[in-house]
Each structure stands twice: as structure tokens, then as C-alpha cells.
Symmetry: C2
């Protein structure tokens, strides 16, 4: 059962997490995010760490600590967050990333590139404020 359009658990945690955080004024900690997304706190911790480093979250250690959004919800979109976790989505001509097609003409007719572009554009349109 192949996944055509893939969303890793990490990307899922990042997107769900940032929405949950944006919804709370006082911020949210790892444990709560893990509970509400039904994932492990270890994994949540790792993912949040990366969002902090990338400048999307502020973190606060110690009792009553946690994460708060560092930007305006309308200024953060799904693509930003997705790419922090998965890397930048690149639109390549060849689905196999070959420089020259040994086959002659590509049998995929750029369908994979078009789909990828569509998905990218969709993610870019989804700003966090639409999910608060």
C-alpha cells in the first residue's frame, strides 16, 4: 500500500502542533501536544525543537514553560512548516531525478511534477490563522 502523497509523522506533528500552539495564548508544552496529537512526547520534542530553531516558535523552559508562536498566524503557512521538517519541495522534470532520460521521452508526461506543484501551492495558501 504505497502512499502517493506522503505526510510523515514529523510533518504531521509540526502542522498540528503549530495550530494547537497558535490556539493557546499561554503556550503549550510537549506533553500536551503529544496527548492531543496522539504521538510520542519524544517525537514531539524533536519536532518542536526544529521549529524553534527555524524561528517559528519561542520556547520557555522550566515549570509552566512550553512553546508559543513567534509570528502572526496570518504570516505563517503550511508550506513554511512542512519545509522546515521535510526540506524544500523541489519541482524536478524527471521523476527519477536523472539529468538525461536514457529512455528518450519521459513516460510520465510531467504529471508528477504538476502534482507536486499543485500540492506546494495548496500548502502555501493555508495560513495558520485559517485554522484558529
Amino acid at each position: 500500500m504505497p502512499k502517493i502523497v506522503s505526510l510523515s509523522e514529523a510533518a504531521s506533528i509540526a502542522l498540528h502542533g503549530i495550530i494547537l500552539i497558535a490556539r493557546e495564548k499561554k503556550g503549550l508544552n510537549v506533553v500536551k501536544i503529544a496527548e492531543r496529537t496522539d504521538t510520542s512526547k519524544h517525537h514531539v520534542a524533536k519536532v518542536m525543537q526544529r521549529l524553534v530553531k527555524a524561528g517559528y516558535l519561542n520556547s520557555q523552559r522550566g515549570p509552566s514553560g512550553g512553546f508559543v508562536l513567534r509570528k502572526e498566524p496570518k504570516d505563517v503557512n503550511f508550506l513554511d512548516i512542512y519545509e522546515v521538517i521535510e526540506g524544500v519541495i523541489e519541482i524536478g522534470e524527471c521523476p527519477m531525478d536523472k539529468q538525461i532520460c536514457p529512455f528518450g521521452k519521459c513516460i510520465m508526461n510531467n504529471v508528477t511534477s504538476k502534482m507536486t506543484l499543485n500540492f506546494k501551492e495548496y500548502l502555501e495558501k493555508q495560513t495558520i490563522d485559517q485554522y484558529i
Copy 2:
């Protein structure tokens, strides 16, 4: 650099290979398919083996052996071949394959399912005879 729409080397070999075979009346052997697709003969051998077992190819051992198409080119489409290699493409509601969304409402709005369905339908429309 994540791949949104993924095509494994195995799937690529299968699709390219079956077209190459369909184009030759006398069949084609592993070495030639590997050359023309710029892949390893080991990998080609494994992939072809699966297409034989699945009934899409006949194989012939020994000198001047190789593979020939077992069906009419118009009766074989890309989806058939893709699924032999990758498994059946299933259209699930949840991109994370969760039964109940712990989050409440899915943040992906079925976009991943829709894209997957589109891709599946596209593959199904591409019959081998269109590529001879």
C-alpha cells in the same frame, strides 16, 4: 528534498521495461533492459521476475532468451504494472492512516486523498499501446 509523488526505481524499471518489451517482437533480455534504462541488471532481473509471476510477461531462459509481453498492449495499463510493484493504491481519508482523528477536524481537507485518486486515474488511462 522530499518527493511528493514518488516513483521508486523498481516501479520505473517496470514501466519502462514493459514498454521496451512491447516494442520488440522478439523480446528483450535483462541486460538490454538494464542498458536502455540505465539501471542495474540485478534490479531489472528482480523486477521482471515479479511481472512474470503476475502474468504480464512470459520468460524464456537460455541463449536468445528474454521476456515477451503476454497480453495485448491495449489491455495493459500503467496502474496494473505500478501496483504489481508497489502494491495496490488505496485512497484513505486520513493522511496518517488514523482511524479517529485525535485532532478533531482533518487539517488536510482530503487534499492528499484527492491527489492520490487523480494519480491513480491517470495511471489507469495510460495503456501500453499508447507508448509503442
